[in-house]
Symmetry: C2
Subunit: 308 residues, 2 copies
């Protein structure tokens, strides 16, 4: 069985949506990525940092999902990264109310010894130098490196970001960020420019409109499942990334054709994530639920025109 | 071979996009719908009205595409409907600069005798009373009635619109209009409410994000082909409708499964329409070009996860 290293935040989130609000609950990119990837029964390690205020029960929850937490540093005297946000009525935009970096400000990721030969590395959204440092620690060239990032790093650490982007195989980015990074409105042209920066595969996430996978002149479109209600979008992008990488580790097939399946798995898991606050839905997700929803994705997109 | 009646505008358009601008060129819903439907070699009649200023060459162009124009009334002393618009840089929004109704203001559609037993009726975007009047003239209940409309009629003729919506099988509407018509943000919930108004099938067009087809609890998602450049979106929605109805008339199969194919054909033809100004691209479209692009749509969306 292949190994997956994830670096990213493990955090407290406080979320307001039109449906309600939460106190500080479990959040963070590595948390969502890990929970999604753990669905595939691969060896997963999370590399992160938390403070002494981080509840043991949250760490236990990750362990119970067979996520190796030896790479999660606990800074006893420090506080855990905290993010708070409020979603607008359309659920497609949000305001950040609070960002407290806390222990994340001095985060030096350390990849556990056992995972320095991992086949796949998932670089969650963090400072590009932190992402680079994880790659520096790998003792074998991974078969696949996937990077997630956001507009914040384009604004304040663009050169560092470009340097790490050079080193990755797949980038996942949302449509607005792809446009910002390249200065191109057309996503086809933007993807081509990002290819030229390094990544052979470009995944552009469009929220409720699905995700596009680009590779050379090939493109694949995974729609998002039309949902009656999006309860809380927090973590959907990370859950997508976790499903995507988890599936690739499990199948050990990094071809474009198999990456299409990985995108569908990512979209499938993300469609569950948004049904409840935070990680709640992902904690209790069963295989048969996932299986049923994959069938829905097939029905949603497959057609049978006879081309004569 | 089945028959298709189209009612809609035949018009002059003047278009500005970031790529250039046109003088008055051939436009109108019935024009775009007719050109797309003519691709399927079915019997098509356009019902419309133009003024004495409408060039014979435009009428000849429609005739050459085997569109029956006997239902296009020519009001010699009148002027043809004229629309002018300017697209914004993102090509997803536009300002209307001029709308001159001219002969359209007193339009009384007359369905040609030969077409009063047509299998399919396509009601292009017009005043709902004009749409109703076409249905009143049908001597046999059509197998399928498809209606397109827009927010303007929701603002100023809502009751008339609701009355005609009751009488149709399929409605095509864009996402914002579906939300306005139902007061629901979720397109799944909006589609359900529109079902309850009458139409068994609801097509929600999302522009560059594709189109959704709803029927009872079933949903199908046809993405738009990611394009390097959208040159002029004018007529894309009507071209979609023409491809959709033309394919259904040709195959004479009005099942949900076959409607999926019709949606793909509509999306395929629309992807050509936007490549040039106005009807230019649709005038010169070959079967082999359409065939090639249908294959691209297959590659864009088809995946092969083994569900075990």
């Amino acid at each position: 069985m292949g190994k997956l290293v994830i670096v990213g935040t493990v955090a407290f989130d406080a979320i307001e949506t039109p449906f309600g609000k939460t106190d500080k609950i479990l959040g963070g990119a590595a948390t969502f990525i890990g929970l999604a990837a753990s669905h595939f029964n691969v060896d997963v390690a999370a590399v992160s940092v938390v403070g002494g205020d981080f509840p043991q029960e949250y760490l236990d929850l990750l362990s119970e999902k067979n996520i190796d937490i030896s790479g999660i540093e606990i800074v006893k005297e420090g506080k855990t990264f905290f993010w708070s946000g409020r979603y607008h009525n359309d659920m497609n935009s949000r305001d950040t109310l609070v960002t407290e970096l806390n222990t994340l400000a001095d985060f030096n990721p350390v990849v556990p010894e056992d995972y320095r030969d991992a086949e796949v590395v998932m670089l969650g959204n963090l400072h590009p130098l932190v992402q680079s440092s994880v790659l520096d620690q790998m003792e074998k060239t991974p078969k696949l490196v996937v990077l997630d990032t956001m507009n914040f790093w384009m604004d304040c650490a663009l050169e560092d970001l470009k340097n790490v982007i050079k080193r990755v195989d797949v980038i996942t980015i949302n449509d607005e960020e792809a446009r910002q990074l390249t200065g191109e409105y057309s996503l086809v042209v933007a993807a081509r420019k990002i290819h030229a920066m390094g990544p052979k595969y470009v995944v552009i996430k469009k929220g409720e409109h699905g995700a596009l996978l680009f590779h050379d002149d090939h493109v694949f479109y995974a729609p998002a499942l039309p949902l009656e209600e999006v309860f809380d979008p927090t973590g959907a992008g990370d859950t997508f990334a976790g499903g995507f990488t988890g599936y690739l580790v499990k199948t050990n097939d990094f071809s474009f054709e198999n990456m299409k399946n990985a995108v569908i798995y990512g979209s499938t898991l993300a469609s569950f994530c948004v049904e409840k606050f935070g990680t709640e839905r992902m904690q209790n997700l069963t295989n048969s639920e996932v299986h049923k929803r994959l069938l829905q994705f097939k029905q949603l997109t497959q057609f049978d025109i006879e081309l004569t």
